[in-house]
Structures are given as C-alpha cells and as structure tokens.
Symmetry: C2
Subunit: 146 residues, 2 copies
DNA sequence: TGATAATGTAACCGTTGAAATTACAACTAA
DNA sequence: TTAGTTGTAATTTCAACGGTTACATTATCA
C-alpha cells in the first residue's frame, strides 16, 4: 500500500502558503486550484493540520497562519498530523497467529523490534526535512524559471 | 495507510518453513493454520514469492524450498516480492497539480528527491535483516520457552 | 445591517485494494 | 486410480481514499 497523497498535498499546501501569502489571499479554493483537487479536501486537511497545532485558520475571512518558524516544522510533523496510523504502526500485522503453534505464538516477539527499527529509519529521515527547506527550494526553482 | 499484512505473513511463512521443514510437510494448509488465515491467501503469496525467485513450490505433492542461503534473502527482498508499488514509489503523489501555478508546476521537482530519500532510508534498514536473523531469533525464543 | 465570502461539516458516491471464501481444474506420488 | 496438493478464477465483505453537493456558521465590509 502506498502512503496516501494527503502527505504530498499537505506539503504542497505549506509551500503555497509560504510563497503566496504576501500577494494573495490563500483560501481553500485558491489552494484547491493550485493542487488540482476539491476545496473540501483541502479544508479537511487544514482541519487536521490545525488540530496538530501547525497552523491557524481564520474562519469567515479566510487566511492561514503557520504557527511556528518554518525551520521548526519537519516533514515528520506534517506526516504525523495527517496520517492516522492505528497504534502508530507503519506495518499492519496479521491478527490471528495461532498460539498453539510455536512459531505463531512467538512471531510478534520475533518481528516487532525489527519492524519498529524500519519504521524509525523512515521517520528519522522525515525529521531531516523542514518547511524551511521547501521554501528555499521553491525559491531556487522559481528563480531558475525566469 | 499501513503497509499490508502480506509482509508480516510472508515473514511468518519463511520462519515456519525454516523451523518445521524437517519435521512436517509444510503445505498451504499447514501454514494457514499457523498464521490464522485461509490457505488460498497463502498460495497467492507463495506464487508471488515464487515469481520473485525466492522459493520453489512443488505442485501436486506439496512442499516449499527456499532457493538461496537464508543469509542472502533480506526483508527488502521479501517486501519487493509481495508489495506491488506503482512505479516503485512509496508515496502517492497528487496527480493534477496545476501547471499554470508556479508552485503547482514545480512541486514535483521540489519534493521528488526528498521523498525518494525517505523511501531509501526505509529500504536500507530493510536490507539489514535477513531470513537467517529470523531463524536464529526464533531458535532463541523457542529455547527460552522450555 | 445586510450582502458577501470564507470555513466547518455532514452526507453521500464511486473506486480501489485487502482479506476471505468457495469451487474446481491441474498435477504428482503412492 | 485415488488421495492430497497447488494454481487460479470468481465472488463477497469491508475499509479507506478522493471527490462532490449542500448548508450552517462566522467574519468583514459597504
């Protein structure tokens, strides 16, 4: 299973907010236009980001504020905000290994730490990238366009 | 989205084959009993593992053979065999960013390398664990049981 | 104060994939 | 030939994603 596009959409949102916030009123309609999706999809995502404390959203008037320094919000923070993993586990485990079987009753003890390590490797790498990197990277790309 | 339980089921299969192959005839029914699922689920997985060249399956008579040294098959090999990712990408990307928008037409260039790095971090960790580790780990756990 | 514009949500739909299950053809060994 | 096993098609159930419509709520401004 692939990780849902909510993640790349959320990163797109943050990038667009950073780039456009001084020149445009960045609404869910505006973002939906840039991302190529429906405004309601955006609003649901904004609600998740808001609940995670990463942004504030002005009701009625519209407008999105990032609550921290860009360098203090990592990809991992965004990922955690929008990906609701059951128990926080990346890997789904088969639910009914047979306790009557020696392998069945020990398979969790055998695999859990290894799966955890793999998940941590991914999450550690996610923590290396921040919204600041997105802002700078996008400025470079835009400069090259002209 | 969680990664499907096919991964842990496949690792369970390999562990059970290693542990029981000298004492039992390890069939899809036998494995289904240990794993707590349906024999057809197991057969489909075995077909994937077979297609990846990791095992051979004896038709008619039944019986599974691992084709390489246990130390030469990593978690990553198993993962690749059973998880069919579109384009090999762990992260699904929103499909219609707006090319009229400066951010929309550059978002792929901005994110692709970073997403790739994150995926590679996970896959590199997967390459560290082999079926040999599973065999040894399970032997230790079984020894502790008595 | 009324009109306008935006967010917050509920409700629903279509699609996809996972996991399970039944059924049966194909195959192998005894 | 028979019993046991694999290979695979067909079907079902369920959950999640992404999309869409509709509308109540909220804030600003003329």
């Amino acid at each position: 299973m692939q990780i849902s596009s909510r993640f790349t959409v959320a990163l797109h949102i943050f990038t667009a907010v950073d780039v456009f916030k001084d020149d445009y009123k960045v609404t869910s309609d505006f973002l939906a236009g840039s991302i190529g999706t429906n405004p309601v999809i955006i609003r649901k995502l904004l609600t998740q980001l808001k609940n995670a404390g990463l942004i504030t959203v002005a009701r009625g008037t519209g407008g999105i504020e990032v609550t921290k320094e860009l360098s203090e919000i990592s990809f991992y923070d965004v990922y955690q905000a929008i990906e609701p993993l059951e128990g926080g586990d990346l890997f789904r485990f088969h639910e009914a290994p047979n306790p009557q079987c020696p392998v069945g009753r020990n398979i969790h003890a055998l695999l859990d730490d290894k799966l955890q390590k793999i998940q941590e490797a991914m999450e550690s790498e996610m923590k290396k990238y921040t919204l600041q990197d997105l802002w700078e990277g996008m400025q470079d790309l835009l400069a090259k366009e002209t």
